[in-house]
Symmetry: C2
Subunit: 214 residues, 2 copies
Amino acid sequence: MDTTQRTDQQRSADRRRRELLEAADRVVLRDGPGASMNAIAAEAGITKPILYRHFGDKGGLYAALAKRHTDALLDSLRAALDAPADRRERVESTLDTYLAAIEARPQVYRFLMHPAEGGTQNDQGFDTGRHSIPLLRRMGEELAQVIEERLDLGPGTHELARVWGHGIVGMMHAAGDWWLGERPCSRAELVRSLADLLWGRLAAAGDRMGGPGF
Amino acid sequence: MDTTQRTDQQRSADRRRRELLEAADRVVLRDGPGASMNAIAAEAGITKPILYRHFGDKGGLYAALAKRHTDALLDSLRAALDAPADRRERVESTLDTYLAAIEARPQVYRFLMHPAEGGTQNDQGFDTGRHSIPLLRRMGEELAQVIEERLDLGPGTHELARVWGHGIVGMMHAAGDWWLGERPCSRAELVRSLADLLWGRLAAAGDRMGGPGF
DNA sequence: AGACTTCGGTTACCGCAAGTAACAAGTTAG
DNA sequence: CTAACTTGTTACTTGCGGTAACCGAAGTCT
């Protein structure tokens, strides 16, 4: 049981793990987030206990699965966020990247936004707010960091950037979700509308005559 | 079986239904959204099949439960949205009302944002985006309507208002969720930061020196 | 009065999915 | 040859959503 051996075994275990994840991916994309462990095991050509040996429990598997997609999406978002262009263009391009991703693979998206699913009885001692979707949290933090790095907002920049990061991500997510369901306009129009919102067009708009101004 | 009889029965059934809902409420608030039908029935002093007679299935019960809270929250939001004050004040008051609500009763909030929970295998032919939380959708539509009624946004007002409605609600939700978990600042500060974001401070902020402007 | 429906309710069950225990190779080390 | 470890299995337990079938106490019809 020397070092090289150990490494070999771990290598093999990692390869196996990746195979299992790919099988799980296929099943989840086919059957939705309610896919059973049995089904996943069958797709991978093995049986349940092996899955449990590798991932602990269903949550572990789903977390691992989510991490893959989350990382991938975050990478492309980072690219859009880092492109050499002015601020507005970059914001629009980031929004568009996100929307294009959820448009292209709605099942993945659906899975990422739905991961909790308390099978039996899960965490009772809940932290009053920890249930948020990991992907959203990560995107929020990431954006917050970018904002803080690049914008000069005076004192309190740190907190402000974080609020904005999570807020903007939430805006993008909710609008995207609604848009994906109803498809009321093109992606480009949606991007433009959201960027307009962030650019303060809500505050600048004139009141409609008749009632008190909004 | 004349009309009065029928009415009496229905009245009684409605009262019962309300009692059951209140029991369910207590259990869900105590045990979280994973509360079992057995537990709810026990809390109500009866057994499962009665719940099923009243609500069809778990989804029905949860939908009824969610509707109560959703309606209540929407009422208070409407009040804030309709108050006689200028636009910025009204936006801030609406944000604050929402945040105060989720702060006061995080369990209710948690439940409202989590209602899906496909028990067995549910809707497989999924509409690619219909899984969003009903409360968020309703809030988004409501806000969209208010925006459209009161703001003059030129051509395309209707679509623009809806995008903004859902986007703003999503911003509020995500930021609130994050805030509730980490409590990085006071509610008032959060409200101010979000309103600033909506007022275009992101676009107006100066670049930090060193990198390309965000 | 006595038979007949009709509530409000219960027990006992089905099916299914998560998770686990216990066991059966095959492989490598000493 | 045996001991330990990896990889896999079968078969089980537990718990939940959901349902079928039964039960008793009312009111109703004749």
